[in-house]
Protein backbone atom coordinates (compact mmCIF):
# COMPACT_ATOMS: atom_id res chain seq x y z
CA UNK A 1 0.00 0.00 0.00
CA UNK A 2 1.85 3.03 -1.16
CA UNK A 3 0.78 6.48 -2.12
CA UNK A 4 -1.42 7.06 -5.10
CA UNK A 5 0.64 8.04 -8.13
CA UNK A 6 -1.40 9.18 -11.09
CA UNK A 7 1.63 9.13 -13.37
CA UNK A 8 1.06 5.39 -13.46
CA UNK A 9 -1.02 4.90 -16.64
CA UNK A 10 -3.04 2.04 -15.19
CA UNK A 11 -4.07 4.02 -12.14
CA UNK A 12 -4.77 7.05 -14.27
CA UNK A 13 -7.23 5.06 -16.38
CA UNK A 14 -8.92 3.64 -13.31
CA UNK A 15 -9.19 7.18 -11.93
CA UNK A 16 -10.87 8.36 -15.16
CA UNK A 17 -13.20 5.41 -15.02
CA UNK A 18 -14.25 6.56 -11.54
CA UNK A 19 -14.98 10.09 -12.78
CA UNK A 20 -16.98 8.82 -15.75
CA UNK A 21 -18.94 6.40 -13.63
CA UNK A 22 -20.57 9.27 -11.71
CA UNK A 23 -22.02 10.62 -14.93
CA UNK A 24 -22.99 7.22 -16.34
CA UNK A 25 -25.46 6.82 -13.49
CA UNK A 26 -26.12 10.52 -13.20
CA UNK A 27 -29.72 10.08 -12.17
CA UNK A 28 -28.42 8.72 -8.84
CA UNK A 29 -26.06 11.65 -8.46
CA UNK A 30 -28.88 14.12 -9.06
CA UNK A 31 -31.09 12.13 -6.71
CA UNK A 32 -28.33 12.35 -4.12
CA UNK A 33 -28.38 16.14 -4.48
CA UNK A 34 -32.18 16.27 -4.15
CA UNK A 35 -32.13 14.10 -1.05
CA UNK A 36 -29.44 16.29 0.51
CA UNK A 37 -31.44 19.46 -0.19
CA UNK A 38 -34.60 17.91 1.22
CA UNK A 39 -32.75 16.71 4.26
CA UNK A 40 -31.38 20.21 4.76
CA UNK A 41 -34.80 21.78 4.56
CA UNK A 42 -36.17 19.37 7.14
CA UNK A 43 -33.23 19.61 9.51
CA UNK A 44 -33.52 23.35 9.37
CA UNK A 45 -37.24 23.23 10.21
CA UNK A 46 -36.60 20.86 13.10
CA UNK A 47 -33.78 22.90 14.59
CA UNK A 48 -35.75 26.12 14.22
CA UNK A 49 -38.55 24.46 16.16
CA UNK A 50 -36.09 23.24 18.79
CA UNK A 51 -34.62 26.72 19.19
CA UNK A 52 -38.13 28.18 19.40
CA UNK A 53 -37.93 31.82 20.42
CA UNK A 54 -34.29 31.66 21.49
CA UNK A 55 -31.86 33.37 19.14
CA UNK A 56 -28.85 31.59 20.57
CA UNK A 57 -28.29 28.46 22.69
CA UNK A 58 -24.99 27.87 24.51
CA UNK A 59 -23.52 30.74 22.52
CA UNK A 60 -24.48 29.11 19.21
CA UNK A 61 -26.84 31.28 17.13
CA UNK A 62 -29.44 29.52 14.98
CA UNK A 63 -27.73 30.74 11.79
CA UNK A 64 -24.48 29.06 12.84
CA UNK A 65 -26.40 25.89 13.53
CA UNK A 66 -28.02 25.95 10.08
CA UNK A 67 -24.64 26.46 8.41
CA UNK A 68 -23.14 23.67 10.50
CA UNK A 69 -25.87 21.26 9.35
CA UNK A 70 -25.45 22.36 5.73
CA UNK A 71 -21.72 21.70 5.88
CA UNK A 72 -22.16 18.24 7.42
CA UNK A 73 -24.84 17.38 4.84
CA UNK A 74 -22.47 18.41 2.04
CA UNK A 75 -19.70 16.38 3.65
CA UNK A 76 -22.09 13.43 3.63
CA UNK A 77 -22.55 13.93 -0.10
CA UNK A 78 -18.82 14.30 -0.74
CA UNK A 79 -17.49 11.46 1.38
CA UNK A 80 -19.17 8.33 0.05
CA UNK A 81 -18.39 4.70 0.87
CA UNK A 82 -17.61 3.95 -2.80
CA UNK A 83 -14.44 2.09 -2.00
CA UNK A 84 -16.11 -0.44 0.28
CA UNK A 85 -18.99 -1.02 -2.14
CA UNK A 86 -16.47 -1.62 -4.91
CA UNK A 87 -14.37 -4.06 -2.91
CA UNK A 88 -17.49 -5.93 -1.79
CA UNK A 89 -18.80 -6.23 -5.32
CA UNK A 90 -15.47 -7.57 -6.52
CA UNK A 91 -15.27 -10.12 -3.74
CA UNK A 92 -18.90 -11.13 -4.25
CA UNK A 93 -18.44 -11.71 -7.99
CA UNK A 94 -15.01 -13.29 -7.77
CA UNK A 95 -13.57 -10.41 -9.81
CA UNK A 96 -11.02 -9.86 -7.05
CA UNK A 97 -8.89 -12.72 -8.40
CA UNK A 98 -8.32 -10.87 -11.68
CA UNK A 99 -7.75 -7.57 -9.87
CA UNK A 100 -5.04 -9.06 -7.74
CA UNK A 101 -2.89 -10.31 -10.62
CA UNK A 102 -2.77 -6.85 -12.22
CA UNK A 103 0.59 -5.08 -12.11
CA UNK A 104 -0.68 -2.35 -9.75
CA UNK A 105 -1.77 -3.33 -6.26
CA UNK A 106 -5.42 -4.07 -5.54
CA UNK A 107 -5.81 -1.43 -2.84
CA UNK A 108 -4.25 1.20 -5.07
CA UNK A 109 -6.70 0.34 -7.85
CA UNK A 110 -9.58 0.72 -5.46
CA UNK A 111 -8.27 4.02 -4.11
CA UNK A 112 -7.76 5.39 -7.64
CA UNK A 113 -11.31 4.44 -8.57
CA UNK A 114 -12.86 6.00 -5.51
CA UNK A 115 -10.78 9.19 -5.78
CA UNK A 116 -11.97 9.46 -9.38
CA UNK A 117 -15.55 8.94 -8.28
CA UNK A 118 -15.13 11.64 -5.63
CA UNK A 119 -13.63 14.04 -8.18
CA UNK A 120 -16.62 13.54 -10.46
CA UNK A 121 -19.05 13.91 -7.60
CA UNK A 122 -17.44 17.06 -6.20
CA UNK A 123 -17.95 18.71 -9.59
CA UNK A 124 -21.68 18.46 -8.92
CA UNK A 125 -21.23 20.78 -5.94
CA UNK A 126 -20.51 23.65 -8.31
CA UNK A 127 -24.26 23.77 -8.90
CA UNK A 128 -25.39 23.34 -5.32
CA UNK A 129 -23.10 25.52 -3.23
CA UNK A 130 -23.95 28.89 -4.85
CA UNK A 131 -27.64 28.09 -4.41
CA UNK A 132 -27.13 27.33 -0.75
CA UNK A 133 -25.20 30.57 -0.29
CA UNK A 134 -28.06 32.51 -1.87
CA UNK A 135 -30.87 30.98 0.20
CA UNK A 136 -28.81 31.59 3.33
CA UNK A 137 -28.35 27.98 4.38
CA UNK A 138 -24.62 28.30 4.03
CA UNK A 139 -22.97 31.39 5.44
CA UNK A 140 -19.67 32.14 3.68
CA UNK A 141 -16.71 31.60 6.04
CA UNK A 142 -13.95 34.08 6.74
CA UNK A 143 -10.96 33.61 4.37
CA UNK A 144 -8.79 32.27 7.21
CA UNK A 145 -11.41 29.72 8.27
CA UNK A 146 -11.91 28.69 4.66
CA UNK A 147 -8.21 27.95 4.23
CA UNK A 148 -8.02 25.83 7.37
CA UNK A 149 -11.32 24.17 6.45
CA UNK A 150 -9.88 23.04 3.11
CA UNK A 151 -6.95 21.43 4.92
CA UNK A 152 -9.38 19.84 7.35
CA UNK A 153 -11.57 18.65 4.46
CA UNK A 154 -8.64 16.82 2.90
CA UNK A 155 -7.94 15.01 6.16
CA UNK A 156 -11.66 14.26 6.57
CA UNK A 157 -11.59 12.73 3.11
CA UNK A 158 -8.57 10.58 3.91
CA UNK A 159 -10.00 9.43 7.25
CA UNK A 160 -13.33 8.57 5.64
CA UNK A 161 -11.59 6.72 2.81
CA UNK A 162 -9.50 4.70 5.28
CA UNK A 163 -12.55 3.77 7.37
CA UNK A 164 -14.42 2.63 4.26
CA UNK A 165 -11.33 0.81 3.03
CA UNK A 166 -11.29 -1.12 6.31
CA UNK A 167 -14.98 -1.90 5.95
CA UNK A 168 -14.27 -3.04 2.40
CA UNK A 169 -11.40 -5.25 3.54
CA UNK A 170 -13.68 -6.84 6.15
CA UNK A 171 -15.29 -8.48 3.13
CA UNK A 172 -12.25 -10.75 2.85
CA UNK A 173 -13.41 -12.35 6.12
CA UNK A 174 -17.17 -11.90 5.92
CA UNK A 175 -17.69 -12.46 2.13
CA UNK A 176 -21.08 -10.75 2.34
CA UNK A 177 -20.28 -7.54 4.15
CA UNK A 178 -23.37 -5.49 3.29
CA UNK A 179 -24.59 -5.59 6.90
CA UNK A 180 -21.23 -4.29 8.09
CA UNK A 181 -21.36 -1.44 5.59
CA UNK A 182 -24.84 -0.41 6.68
CA UNK A 183 -23.93 -0.46 10.36
CA UNK A 184 -20.84 1.68 9.87
CA UNK A 185 -22.87 4.03 7.66
CA UNK A 186 -25.42 4.77 10.36
CA UNK A 187 -22.97 4.83 13.23
CA UNK A 188 -20.47 7.05 11.48
CA UNK A 189 -22.90 9.83 10.64
CA UNK A 190 -24.53 9.94 14.07
CA UNK A 191 -21.37 9.40 16.14
CA UNK A 192 -19.55 11.70 13.75
CA UNK A 193 -21.70 14.54 15.04
CA UNK A 194 -23.25 15.26 11.67
CA UNK A 195 -26.84 15.67 12.91
CA UNK A 196 -26.16 16.82 16.46
CA UNK A 197 -22.98 18.78 17.05
CA UNK A 198 -20.86 17.65 19.99
CA UNK A 199 -21.57 20.85 21.90
CA UNK A 200 -25.21 19.80 22.33
CA UNK A 201 -24.45 16.20 23.27
CA UNK A 202 -24.82 15.01 26.87
CA UNK A 203 -21.56 14.21 28.66
CA UNK A 204 -21.42 10.37 28.41
CA UNK A 205 -22.27 10.37 24.69
CA UNK A 206 -19.76 13.13 23.97
CA UNK A 207 -16.97 11.17 25.64
CA UNK A 208 -17.73 8.13 23.46
CA UNK A 209 -17.79 10.29 20.35
CA UNK A 210 -14.49 11.92 21.21
CA UNK A 211 -12.81 8.53 21.45
CA UNK A 212 -13.99 7.46 17.99
CA UNK A 213 -12.57 8.49 14.60
CA UNK A 214 -15.91 9.52 13.06
CA UNK A 215 -15.85 13.10 14.41
CA UNK A 216 -12.84 13.65 12.15
CA UNK A 217 -15.15 13.17 9.15
CA UNK A 218 -18.04 15.45 10.06
CA UNK A 219 -17.89 17.38 13.29
CA UNK A 220 -14.31 18.67 13.23
CA UNK A 221 -14.27 20.10 9.69
CA UNK A 222 -17.75 21.59 10.12
CA UNK A 223 -16.89 23.21 13.43
CA UNK A 224 -13.79 24.73 11.82
CA UNK A 225 -15.99 26.09 9.02
CA UNK A 226 -18.43 27.78 11.39
CA UNK A 227 -15.52 28.92 13.57
CA UNK A 228 -16.74 27.17 16.69
CA UNK A 229 -13.25 25.67 16.72
CA UNK A 230 -10.90 28.63 16.76
CA UNK A 231 -7.33 29.25 17.95
CA UNK A 232 -6.19 26.37 20.13
CA UNK A 233 -9.48 24.56 19.51
CA UNK A 234 -8.74 24.66 15.80
CA UNK A 235 -5.23 23.26 16.25
CA UNK A 236 -6.64 20.56 18.48
CA UNK A 237 -9.20 19.65 15.80
CA UNK A 238 -6.51 19.43 13.13
CA UNK A 239 -4.32 17.40 15.50
CA UNK A 240 -7.10 14.86 16.13
CA UNK A 241 -7.66 14.53 12.40
CA UNK A 242 -3.94 14.05 11.76
CA UNK A 243 -3.78 11.42 14.50
CA UNK A 244 -6.64 9.41 12.94
CA UNK A 245 -5.16 9.74 9.47
CA UNK A 246 -1.91 8.12 10.64
CA UNK A 247 -3.52 5.58 12.99
CA UNK A 248 -6.08 4.36 10.45
CA UNK A 249 -3.42 4.22 7.75
CA UNK A 250 -1.37 1.85 9.89
CA UNK A 251 -4.41 -0.28 10.77
CA UNK A 252 -5.45 -0.45 7.10
CA UNK A 253 -1.95 -1.47 5.97
CA UNK A 254 -1.82 -4.17 8.64
CA UNK A 255 -5.32 -5.42 7.77
CA UNK A 256 -4.50 -5.55 4.07
CA UNK A 257 -1.44 -7.73 4.73
CA UNK A 258 -3.67 -10.21 6.53
CA UNK A 259 -6.55 -9.94 4.08
CA UNK A 260 -4.40 -11.29 1.24
CA UNK A 261 -4.06 -14.59 3.07
CA UNK A 262 -7.84 -14.81 3.51
CA UNK A 263 -8.74 -14.52 -0.13
CA UNK A 264 -11.69 -16.66 -1.21
CA UNK A 265 -12.55 -16.47 -4.89
CA UNK A 266 -16.22 -17.05 -5.61
CA UNK A 267 -17.60 -18.40 -8.87
CA UNK A 268 -15.91 -17.91 -12.19
Amino acid sequence: MTALDLRNPGLRDIFRMGVRRVYAYRIFTYLGVVVILLQLLLMRAIWQAVYGDQQSVDGVPIETMVTFLTVTALLGFMLRPTISEEIHRRIDQGQVAVDMVRPVGFVRQMIALSVGEAAGRWLGLVLVVPGLLVIGSLAPPSPGALLVFLLSLIMAYVVSMLIWLLVGLSGFWLIDASGMKSIVGVVSSFLGGSTIPLWFMPEPLRIVVELLPFQAIYFLPASIYVEQAQGSGMWRALGIQAFWTVALWLVAAWTWRRAQNRLVVQGG
Binding site: L42, I46, A49, V50, G179, M180, I183, V186, F200, P202
Partner: protein
Amino acid sequence: MTLFSICWHNMLASVRGEMQYRASFIMSLIFGFLFQTVGFIFVAVILTRFEAVGGWGLWEVGVLYGIRLTAHGLWVVSVNQLFRFDQIVQEGEWDRFLIRPVPIWAQLMFTQFRIPPLGDLISGLFLLGIALPRVSIDWNAGLVVFLALAIIGGALIDGAFQLGSAAFAFRFLMTLPLRIVFDDLQGRFGSYPASIYDRPLRAFMTWIVPMAFMAWVPATVLLGRTAELPFPEWVAWASPMVGFALISGAVWLFVSQSRHYQSAGH
Protein backbone atom coordinates in the same frame (compact mmCIF):
# COMPACT_ATOMS: atom_id res chain seq x y z
CA MET B 1 -50.87 -27.68 -1.00
CA THR B 2 -52.97 -24.95 0.45
CA LEU B 3 -52.10 -21.31 -0.02
CA PHE B 4 -51.06 -21.14 3.60
CA SER B 5 -48.61 -24.02 3.44
CA ILE B 6 -47.10 -22.77 0.17
CA CYS B 7 -46.42 -19.40 1.76
CA TRP B 8 -45.09 -21.00 4.91
CA HIS B 9 -42.61 -23.18 2.99
CA ASN B 10 -41.50 -20.21 0.93
CA MET B 11 -40.74 -18.17 4.03
CA LEU B 12 -38.86 -21.01 5.73
CA ALA B 13 -36.75 -21.61 2.64
CA SER B 14 -35.84 -17.96 2.37
CA VAL B 15 -34.88 -17.71 6.05
CA ARG B 16 -32.60 -20.71 5.50
CA GLY B 17 -31.17 -18.88 2.50
CA GLU B 18 -30.46 -15.78 4.55
CA MET B 19 -28.80 -17.92 7.22
CA GLN B 20 -26.17 -19.10 4.73
CA TYR B 21 -24.10 -16.06 5.49
CA ARG B 22 -24.61 -16.15 9.21
CA ALA B 23 -22.42 -13.19 10.18
CA SER B 24 -24.15 -11.04 7.60
CA PHE B 25 -27.60 -12.25 8.72
CA ILE B 26 -26.91 -11.21 12.28
CA MET B 27 -25.42 -7.92 11.16
CA SER B 28 -28.47 -7.13 9.04
CA LEU B 29 -30.63 -7.65 12.12
CA ILE B 30 -28.39 -5.44 14.23
CA PHE B 31 -28.40 -2.84 11.48
CA GLY B 32 -32.19 -2.72 11.24
CA PHE B 33 -32.45 -2.21 14.97
CA LEU B 34 -29.55 0.22 15.16
CA PHE B 35 -30.75 2.36 12.28
CA GLN B 36 -34.05 3.08 13.99
CA THR B 37 -32.59 3.34 17.48
CA VAL B 38 -30.12 5.95 16.33
CA GLY B 39 -33.07 7.86 14.88
CA PHE B 40 -34.72 7.98 18.27
CA ILE B 41 -31.48 8.70 20.12
CA PHE B 42 -31.25 11.83 17.97
CA VAL B 43 -34.65 12.91 19.25
CA ALA B 44 -33.78 11.90 22.79
CA VAL B 45 -30.53 13.90 22.80
CA ILE B 46 -32.31 16.99 21.49
CA LEU B 47 -35.06 16.64 24.05
CA THR B 48 -32.69 16.12 26.98
CA ARG B 49 -30.90 19.30 25.98
CA PHE B 50 -33.97 21.37 25.10
CA GLU B 51 -36.58 19.69 27.35
CA ALA B 52 -39.52 20.03 24.98
CA VAL B 53 -40.27 20.48 21.31
CA GLY B 54 -43.50 22.36 20.62
CA GLY B 55 -44.63 21.57 24.18
CA TRP B 56 -44.12 17.82 23.75
CA GLY B 57 -41.86 16.10 26.27
CA LEU B 58 -39.39 13.30 25.55
CA TRP B 59 -41.72 10.34 26.09
CA GLU B 60 -44.64 11.98 24.37
CA VAL B 61 -42.50 12.30 21.25
CA GLY B 62 -41.44 8.72 22.04
CA VAL B 63 -45.06 7.55 21.75
CA LEU B 64 -45.46 9.40 18.45
CA TYR B 65 -42.16 8.03 17.14
CA GLY B 66 -43.11 4.53 18.29
CA ILE B 67 -46.47 4.63 16.52
CA ARG B 68 -44.85 5.76 13.28
CA LEU B 69 -42.07 3.21 13.44
CA THR B 70 -44.36 0.30 14.35
CA ALA B 71 -46.75 1.23 11.55
CA HIS B 72 -43.88 1.52 9.07
CA GLY B 73 -42.38 -1.76 10.31
CA LEU B 74 -45.69 -3.55 10.03
CA TRP B 75 -45.96 -2.61 6.36
CA VAL B 76 -42.39 -3.34 5.30
CA VAL B 77 -42.33 -6.67 7.13
CA SER B 78 -45.55 -7.86 5.53
CA VAL B 79 -45.31 -6.55 1.97
CA ASN B 80 -41.59 -7.03 1.58
CA GLN B 81 -41.33 -7.63 -2.19
CA LEU B 82 -42.17 -4.02 -3.10
CA PHE B 83 -38.67 -3.18 -1.96
CA ARG B 84 -37.23 -4.68 -5.15
CA PHE B 85 -40.25 -4.03 -7.34
CA ASP B 86 -38.31 -2.05 -9.98
CA GLN B 87 -36.10 -5.07 -10.51
CA ILE B 88 -39.14 -7.38 -10.71
CA VAL B 89 -40.54 -5.32 -13.57
CA GLN B 90 -37.22 -4.56 -15.28
CA GLU B 91 -36.14 -8.18 -15.45
CA GLY B 92 -39.53 -9.46 -16.52
CA GLU B 93 -40.03 -11.35 -13.29
CA TRP B 94 -43.57 -9.99 -13.18
CA ASP B 95 -44.39 -12.65 -15.80
CA ARG B 96 -43.95 -15.26 -13.12
CA PHE B 97 -46.17 -13.36 -10.71
CA LEU B 98 -48.90 -13.44 -13.33
CA ILE B 99 -48.78 -17.16 -14.09
CA ARG B 100 -48.28 -18.64 -10.64
CA PRO B 101 -51.46 -20.13 -9.16
CA VAL B 102 -51.20 -17.90 -6.09
CA PRO B 103 -52.81 -14.47 -5.73
CA ILE B 104 -50.50 -11.56 -6.44
CA TRP B 105 -50.93 -10.01 -3.02
CA ALA B 106 -49.76 -13.26 -1.43
CA GLN B 107 -46.72 -13.33 -3.70
CA LEU B 108 -45.83 -9.77 -2.79
CA MET B 109 -46.07 -10.69 0.88
CA PHE B 110 -44.72 -14.21 1.19
CA THR B 111 -42.19 -14.91 -1.57
CA GLN B 112 -39.23 -14.04 0.53
CA PHE B 113 -38.49 -13.03 4.07
CA ARG B 114 -36.30 -9.99 4.47
CA ILE B 115 -34.46 -9.41 7.70
CA PRO B 116 -33.77 -5.64 7.88
CA PRO B 117 -37.48 -4.62 8.02
CA LEU B 118 -37.86 -6.81 11.08
CA GLY B 119 -35.53 -4.41 12.85
CA ASP B 120 -37.98 -1.56 12.13
CA LEU B 121 -40.91 -3.45 13.63
CA ILE B 122 -38.99 -4.67 16.67
CA SER B 123 -37.56 -1.26 17.48
CA GLY B 124 -40.99 0.36 16.99
CA LEU B 125 -42.64 -2.03 19.45
CA PHE B 126 -39.69 -1.71 21.78
CA LEU B 127 -39.99 2.07 21.78
CA LEU B 128 -43.76 1.96 22.36
CA GLY B 129 -43.14 -0.46 25.23
CA ILE B 130 -40.76 2.02 26.85
CA ALA B 131 -42.63 5.23 26.10
CA LEU B 132 -46.27 4.30 26.80
CA PRO B 133 -45.80 3.59 30.55
CA ARG B 134 -43.96 6.89 30.92
CA VAL B 135 -46.75 9.17 29.77
CA SER B 136 -50.11 9.68 31.46
CA ILE B 137 -52.89 8.11 29.43
CA ASP B 138 -56.35 7.20 30.79
CA TRP B 139 -56.50 3.77 29.25
CA ASN B 140 -59.85 2.25 28.36
CA ALA B 141 -60.90 -0.43 25.92
CA GLY B 142 -61.78 2.13 23.27
CA LEU B 143 -58.34 3.69 23.37
CA VAL B 144 -56.60 0.31 23.08
CA VAL B 145 -58.67 -0.54 20.01
CA PHE B 146 -57.97 2.94 18.64
CA LEU B 147 -54.21 2.47 19.05
CA ALA B 148 -54.29 -0.89 17.28
CA LEU B 149 -56.38 0.54 14.43
CA ALA B 150 -54.18 3.62 14.23
CA ILE B 151 -51.07 1.46 13.79
CA ILE B 152 -52.78 -0.59 11.07
CA GLY B 153 -54.05 2.62 9.47
CA GLY B 154 -50.53 4.08 9.63
CA ALA B 155 -49.11 0.97 8.00
CA LEU B 156 -51.66 1.41 5.21
CA ILE B 157 -50.72 5.08 4.71
CA ASP B 158 -47.09 4.07 4.37
CA GLY B 159 -48.20 1.21 2.15
CA ALA B 160 -50.35 3.40 -0.05
CA PHE B 161 -47.32 5.51 -0.93
CA GLN B 162 -45.07 2.51 -1.47
CA LEU B 163 -47.64 0.69 -3.59
CA GLY B 164 -48.71 3.85 -5.40
CA SER B 165 -45.10 4.65 -6.36
CA ALA B 166 -44.41 1.03 -7.31
CA ALA B 167 -47.38 1.22 -9.72
CA PHE B 168 -45.37 3.59 -11.91
CA ALA B 169 -42.68 0.95 -12.37
CA PHE B 170 -44.89 -0.67 -15.04
CA ARG B 171 -44.46 2.37 -17.25
CA PHE B 172 -41.27 4.06 -16.13
CA LEU B 173 -39.30 1.07 -14.81
CA MET B 174 -37.58 3.14 -12.13
CA THR B 175 -39.44 4.28 -9.03
CA LEU B 176 -36.81 3.83 -6.35
CA PRO B 177 -36.03 7.58 -6.19
CA LEU B 178 -39.70 8.32 -5.45
CA ARG B 179 -39.80 5.81 -2.65
CA ILE B 180 -36.51 6.97 -1.17
CA VAL B 181 -37.82 10.52 -1.04
CA PHE B 182 -41.03 9.41 0.66
CA ASP B 183 -39.15 7.23 3.14
CA ASP B 184 -36.84 10.08 3.91
CA LEU B 185 -39.69 12.52 4.43
CA GLN B 186 -41.55 10.11 6.63
CA GLY B 187 -38.55 9.10 8.72
CA ARG B 188 -37.13 12.54 9.31
CA PHE B 189 -40.29 14.58 9.30
CA GLY B 190 -43.06 12.32 10.51
CA SER B 191 -41.35 11.62 13.81
CA TYR B 192 -42.21 14.96 15.35
CA PRO B 193 -45.50 16.60 16.20
CA ALA B 194 -46.43 18.49 13.04
CA SER B 195 -47.43 21.42 15.23
CA ILE B 196 -43.76 22.42 15.44
CA TYR B 197 -43.58 23.21 11.74
CA ASP B 198 -44.73 26.43 10.17
CA ARG B 199 -48.09 26.53 8.44
CA PRO B 200 -47.17 25.62 4.81
CA LEU B 201 -45.08 22.63 5.90
CA ARG B 202 -47.80 21.46 8.25
CA ALA B 203 -50.46 21.81 5.57
CA PHE B 204 -48.22 19.88 3.19
CA MET B 205 -47.91 16.93 5.53
CA THR B 206 -51.55 16.96 6.58
CA TRP B 207 -53.32 17.38 3.28
CA ILE B 208 -50.89 16.68 0.43
CA VAL B 209 -48.68 13.88 1.74
CA PRO B 210 -50.88 12.99 4.70
CA MET B 211 -48.23 11.41 6.86
CA ALA B 212 -49.47 13.52 9.78
CA PHE B 213 -52.23 10.91 10.09
CA MET B 214 -49.66 8.16 10.55
CA ALA B 215 -48.50 9.24 13.98
CA TRP B 216 -49.11 12.83 14.95
CA VAL B 217 -52.92 12.74 14.82
CA PRO B 218 -53.29 9.36 16.60
CA ALA B 219 -50.74 10.45 19.21
CA THR B 220 -52.71 13.61 20.00
CA VAL B 221 -55.76 11.43 20.69
CA LEU B 222 -53.82 9.15 23.04
CA LEU B 223 -52.13 12.01 24.84
CA GLY B 224 -55.20 14.26 25.05
CA ARG B 225 -53.63 16.92 22.85
CA THR B 226 -56.30 17.15 20.17
CA ALA B 227 -56.64 20.87 20.87
CA GLU B 228 -53.53 21.54 18.76
CA LEU B 229 -55.01 19.93 15.66
CA PRO B 230 -56.23 22.12 12.81
CA PHE B 231 -59.56 20.21 12.73
CA PRO B 232 -62.22 18.97 15.19
CA GLU B 233 -61.52 16.06 17.53
CA TRP B 234 -63.86 13.57 15.83
CA VAL B 235 -61.75 13.79 12.69
CA ALA B 236 -58.77 12.68 14.76
CA TRP B 237 -60.72 9.68 16.06
CA ALA B 238 -61.50 8.76 12.47
CA SER B 239 -57.82 9.02 11.46
CA PRO B 240 -57.29 5.24 10.97
CA MET B 241 -59.80 5.49 8.11
CA VAL B 242 -57.34 7.63 6.16
CA GLY B 243 -55.09 4.62 5.70
CA PHE B 244 -57.92 2.44 4.45
CA ALA B 245 -59.04 5.10 1.99
CA LEU B 246 -55.52 5.72 0.68
CA ILE B 247 -54.68 2.06 0.23
CA SER B 248 -57.86 1.52 -1.80
CA GLY B 249 -56.72 4.31 -4.09
CA ALA B 250 -53.25 2.83 -4.34
CA VAL B 251 -54.56 -0.65 -5.16
CA TRP B 252 -56.74 0.83 -7.89
CA LEU B 253 -53.75 2.74 -9.30
CA PHE B 254 -51.54 -0.34 -9.14
CA VAL B 255 -54.06 -2.54 -10.94
CA SER B 256 -54.78 0.04 -13.62
CA GLN B 257 -51.07 0.76 -14.22
CA SER B 258 -50.26 -2.95 -14.39
CA ARG B 259 -52.08 -3.04 -17.74
CA HIS B 260 -49.12 -1.11 -19.15
CA TYR B 261 -46.69 -3.87 -18.28
CA GLN B 262 -44.42 -4.94 -21.11
CA SER B 263 -42.49 -8.07 -20.42
CA ALA B 264 -38.73 -7.93 -20.83
CA GLY B 265 -38.94 -11.56 -21.90
CA HIS B 266 -37.24 -14.58 -20.53
